[in-house]
Symmetry: D3
Subunit: 277 residues, 6 copies
Amino acid sequence: MGRFVNERLIRLALEEDIGPGDVTTEGLVEPDLEARAVIVAKEPLVLAGLELAQEVFTTLDPATSFVTPFKDGDMVKRGDIVLEASGKLRVFLTGERTALNFFQRLSGIATYTRQFVEKTKGFSVRVTDTRKTTPGWRRLEKYAVKVGGADNHRFGLYDGILIKDNHITACGSISEAVKRARKTKGHLLCIEVEVTNLEEVKEALKNSVDIIMLDNMNLTGINKAVTLIDHRVLVEVSGGVSLESVAQLAATGVDIISIGALTHSARAVDMSMQLLK
Amino acid sequence: MGRFVNERLIRLALEEDIGPGDVTTEGLVEPDLEARAVIVAKEPLVLAGLELAQEVFTTLDPATSFVTPFKDGDMVKRGDIVLEASGKLRVFLTGERTALNFFQRLSGIATYTRQFVEKTKGFSVRVTDTRKTTPGWRRLEKYAVKVGGADNHRFGLYDGILIKDNHITACGSISEAVKRARKTKGHLLCIEVEVTNLEEVKEALKNSVDIIMLDNMNLTGINKAVTLIDHRVLVEVSGGVSLESVAQLAATGVDIISIGALTHSARAVDMSMQLLK
Amino acid sequence: MGRFVNERLIRLALEEDIGPGDVTTEGLVEPDLEARAVIVAKEPLVLAGLELAQEVFTTLDPATSFVTPFKDGDMVKRGDIVLEASGKLRVFLTGERTALNFFQRLSGIATYTRQFVEKTKGFSVRVTDTRKTTPGWRRLEKYAVKVGGADNHRFGLYDGILIKDNHITACGSISEAVKRARKTKGHLLCIEVEVTNLEEVKEALKNSVDIIMLDNMNLTGINKAVTLIDHRVLVEVSGGVSLESVAQLAATGVDIISIGALTHSARAVDMSMQLLK
Amino acid sequence: MGRFVNERLIRLALEEDIGPGDVTTEGLVEPDLEARAVIVAKEPLVLAGLELAQEVFTTLDPATSFVTPFKDGDMVKRGDIVLEASGKLRVFLTGERTALNFFQRLSGIATYTRQFVEKTKGFSVRVTDTRKTTPGWRRLEKYAVKVGGADNHRFGLYDGILIKDNHITACGSISEAVKRARKTKGHLLCIEVEVTNLEEVKEALKNSVDIIMLDNMNLTGINKAVTLIDHRVLVEVSGGVSLESVAQLAATGVDIISIGALTHSARAVDMSMQLLK
Amino acid sequence: MGRFVNERLIRLALEEDIGPGDVTTEGLVEPDLEARAVIVAKEPLVLAGLELAQEVFTTLDPATSFVTPFKDGDMVKRGDIVLEASGKLRVFLTGERTALNFFQRLSGIATYTRQFVEKTKGFSVRVTDTRKTTPGWRRLEKYAVKVGGADNHRFGLYDGILIKDNHITACGSISEAVKRARKTKGHLLCIEVEVTNLEEVKEALKNSVDIIMLDNMNLTGINKAVTLIDHRVLVEVSGGVSLESVAQLAATGVDIISIGALTHSARAVDMSMQLLK
Amino acid sequence: MGRFVNERLIRLALEEDIGPGDVTTEGLVEPDLEARAVIVAKEPLVLAGLELAQEVFTTLDPATSFVTPFKDGDMVKRGDIVLEASGKLRVFLTGERTALNFFQRLSGIATYTRQFVEKTKGFSVRVTDTRKTTPGWRRLEKYAVKVGGADNHRFGLYDGILIKDNHITACGSISEAVKRARKTKGHLLCIEVEVTNLEEVKEALKNSVDIIMLDNMNLTGINKAVTLIDHRVLVEVSGGVSLESVAQLAATGVDIISIGALTHSARAVDMSMQLLK
């Protein structure tokens, strides 16, 4: 079902890169020449976007065909051929950059996510993303996070009640905010409240929320909160989590660590396309 | 003229975040409440996207109004209020994440670009971006690069002839590739050729190209190439340029340094929105 | 924030009705004539779509203005003027049918919903809609249901886990299905399971689901299930609920009654537009 | 040629139902599982939308295949398997509701229309729809009306001149309105005038219109009008026609009975999808 | 109501011309400079597209304002200032070509149409366009034809029955084709049949069609046909009509002359934009 | 790669012609009838749009198949069958006009262009188009120009610096304008300046621009300018070039002649579709 949902962004991407035409390729290469091309990993990485990369080329020419021994989520080594393709030479030259731009960014997120997941091995904690994604890429980036081994937090403002500081300010108190949420929300959604100190943790507990998010609290605070909550509800920590700090956070016994950096600070990994002679 | 061109991506972004509704805000906050909100820099950064951030909120409600002492390209300090807004409370709560996602990513690119530009001060060299941009964001990311103080390389496959390794392979030789390009290109476009060694530099020179791109060559090679070319045509270097290596490259006397990292590896800078009591 | 989200459907509707032009109005009426028009209820009804009806006319001419003493959710009598408008005569003649088509359908749903809600007064039960909505109208019809006084069930396949008969068939058992759901779902979503007999109720309870939906069970079965579940989890009944049966169902003590008919069988209520002399 | 024209609404419908993903199905069912599914009529009904239902599934996966002994317009019995499908299990679970929402609504209109048509058997009268359709569904609903055995009135404001009460008010008189219409209309379009009493019938006749629509007149009035018109022009009746009144109206000798209820008050008929073990 | 319907084509046009940016204007002109500009007729012409030209500029900046003593349909002289505008200098430089491309093409059609209309003065004949329009421009070009003083033939395949040679071939005979049309068409549409000789004229008359189109017949044939038809039905001639032949055709007494050249062979008239110092 | 880029305009064209349905064809022709159809040249012409014409039919039914001995750019004679097609009869009847509207317009441009190119044979001069194209058709019309044997000028405002009279007015002088352009432009774009007299030619030369465009100068002026420039930079002439004047202009030794008439004044050539019995 991938094709249906990715089509809009792939077309937008090809339109912005090709515009009225690839003047170099159209000027230099006969339209009917056939070729084989490979995409190669230039560093160790976790693959994400194999299907998407193929869809870029098949959007240009549906007759392009592909072979690969890998699937999304596989860790590959530097030098591994991750995709081999046969088709029109022009299609490879024109689609190369767009295909790689998708593939490198998504694999970059999967690779970076995998590093966070590795650091939390042995702890029963969920690593999740946030809504700090690239506008237009929400679904794709959350997919890459999942491929990297972490879980998804809510997808948008519609699939979970998350009462944040500004909501609490607007309602006057946590209690009032939760009261309103309980009355208006659908019966399939849980309530999560963002808190910044132990007083607020207590108020949230008193209101029987489903999840408490400890926002930007330090380790001491988190430990006290975990003790106070004592498994009555789920505990999430969030705010400035790094590869350095994630294991310490996991060790506190929280249930969920949400990390904006997975999507807003992952760099693209290095890949290239080569023509086979 | 910004509004016309950004509208499509802003709507896509709001649709993916809001979906059928912001269940938290709609459940907790009366529709008619007015508020004031500020966006604050949480680290030193170069602003990019001030207008875009405003357009996110005005897409939700055209009556939202804004004040700011800054403009895109300004360097701000940690704690600076970069934008102050008045309007409906719901609009701020619902639009916050999308506005920040645009603003933080573009400012991230501008800030990172500025660092590269600073390193090359005193050299008469152009720092430019590449086509390694986030699909769907080409125009926006190239704008942020310019705001950061660097120049734009071509926007797509249509506004410049760039003969790359795969094109040369397809044509058989640099000479043949340039010959074909000269015959087919429009008279307003220059010809640039990517080379990887001095032999290729010589062949490119013999064919009177307008720009020679030294691709992934080491410092020794670059120095020799610059001497060989001797200002007869423009020289560009590309490939794995980092904040560590950029000054050395500038010192070789090349005319242009193009850097994929400006767009594919910039992290989002930290900003937040706060409601004024 | 209505305008942003409704725009696409309003334009689709105007395009399909106007096509290349309203040949009658353009042939008979001068473009500059001004007029006043009223929309009148031709039967008692609950209003839903007041803003939407206005947006149809302002899409044709942003200068059209409106006055109304009512708001969505108000019950009006036969003969009540529900909206009074001033603007170009052509705009009223051309937009009339499309505005009324929206307004009558949404008010029809709100009116029908209100009847169900009235029947369950005095019982602490939630009446909700389902996903049996008109394709393209999900958000609007769920809005009308809310205006009518009922609650919304999930909006789509993304904001709630609902394990239905076909899912259970696919997994082999309720236990296996719930186990998989628990492992893969986001932490902000609850799990609801559809059951058809008491054995399945027991299996669902054993798996600690959040909500049990009794699908198409008769009154005896429902009563037994409610006794068995004994407030440990929420109970929903669904399947063929009518104005005749809804009070009896509410009396069983279930928490939620979901009713497809609210959206798939509501008829449009009668309204008309008249020009003021 | 169906696929081309339905695509936009099908995609809108799938996007609104699936959003970022079918969390239940994706969590519970392996992507490669194959299945067979049937759609079953749960009451006697006239089929409309067989192709459309298939297109919903093939939009998700073009490899889905179908068998059916029926075609649109066929009357089926309770329990009849109206469509049998083979393909990916996930596709059936995810597409079920959207496919049924289209199929049940269109078949509902066709079934309801057929009842009106049956009541007028033996009379040489045309039963037609109106422009009182669901916004966005004009073409589909008019198709279902035709499948049900009735005829289509004009599709929009562009394929027929229909001078209604508000137009007459705007022009001052029927005569003036018809004069203007005759001068401006294309030569392939007829002129129909809406009247409410015998005086207006006479004025319309004097102006040689092609069709006279008797709007909301009672039986006595209609009979007098039919006698007066005496087959010189076509006569249409409209306004509040029900299954109870339609035969009486047909017996008056009018040529056309147009019925808004065919589209604005038809309920969805009952169908369900079942997986074959 | 112009803005709503033209928006899509105006945006498409601006996107294809501006792409990622007007590099000349953005490089040379400060964004805040104000200016006044005029559009001047460089030859005598009939104006069509005054509003559209303005919409191009207001799409770029809604604050642009305009003055003109003219309206569409006015004949202007060489040197006449047809539109004066105030706004941002950048907006004029960037929008100039697109605005003129619309304005010159539509005025070209209106001017050419006016010449045909002049030649038929004194005859009671309708000059009309055909469906031979530029794809994507149907509505605009038919508007220009009307502004030029001629009438519109049907807008598309949906607002008139026109039985052409290939339809007759498919049905076997004119009689069979008309029989089928009468049975299936809506009651607001007339039937026109295309014929090529007198035998076919007779067959068409026998079948009581509403209009007979004489396709590519010579003057002798047309005269005989007009005599034969003798005002019983409307007569249209079509096929290769030129400015040279149109008056002779009008003199034959036909009712309608349809001319593909109005839209498919009109040249753009000459206009230019100048900045006021 | 044609299909991807043309799809949007083809759909727009089919939607505007078919609207809610081809009432003639649907009423007269059974949906399953197969047929063969040919498109025939009715005058000598240069083919452009063979693929596009096919795409119109395959958009309606992907199973339509085609044979042709020709390719775009071929000159064909009156009576030549340029395309033979097999498929559904309805598809040919419904798609005929739209396919021909594309095919005739593009072939018209190619044919007209070929005439200009023939007149300049023997001179080493480039004939090019301009940006005076039909809005929405930029890419297609420039393609037809190339097929006709001429070259393309820039595609839009983004792939070349062209400093025109209004830019010079805005900057104060040619020198200032060129200075600003050099500083801001990308390194792959050349600078062209429009001049109207010899003084301006000298100022342009002094500023080392890449191309000088002589705008609307007479032959004497052009000859003097060519002598003055003496091959130091490219020379383009533009403004009111006709089939009568083009050879004389070529004889002056200029490098480029750009001709707006190629696209804004080409008439559609005559073609027709016939069904094979």
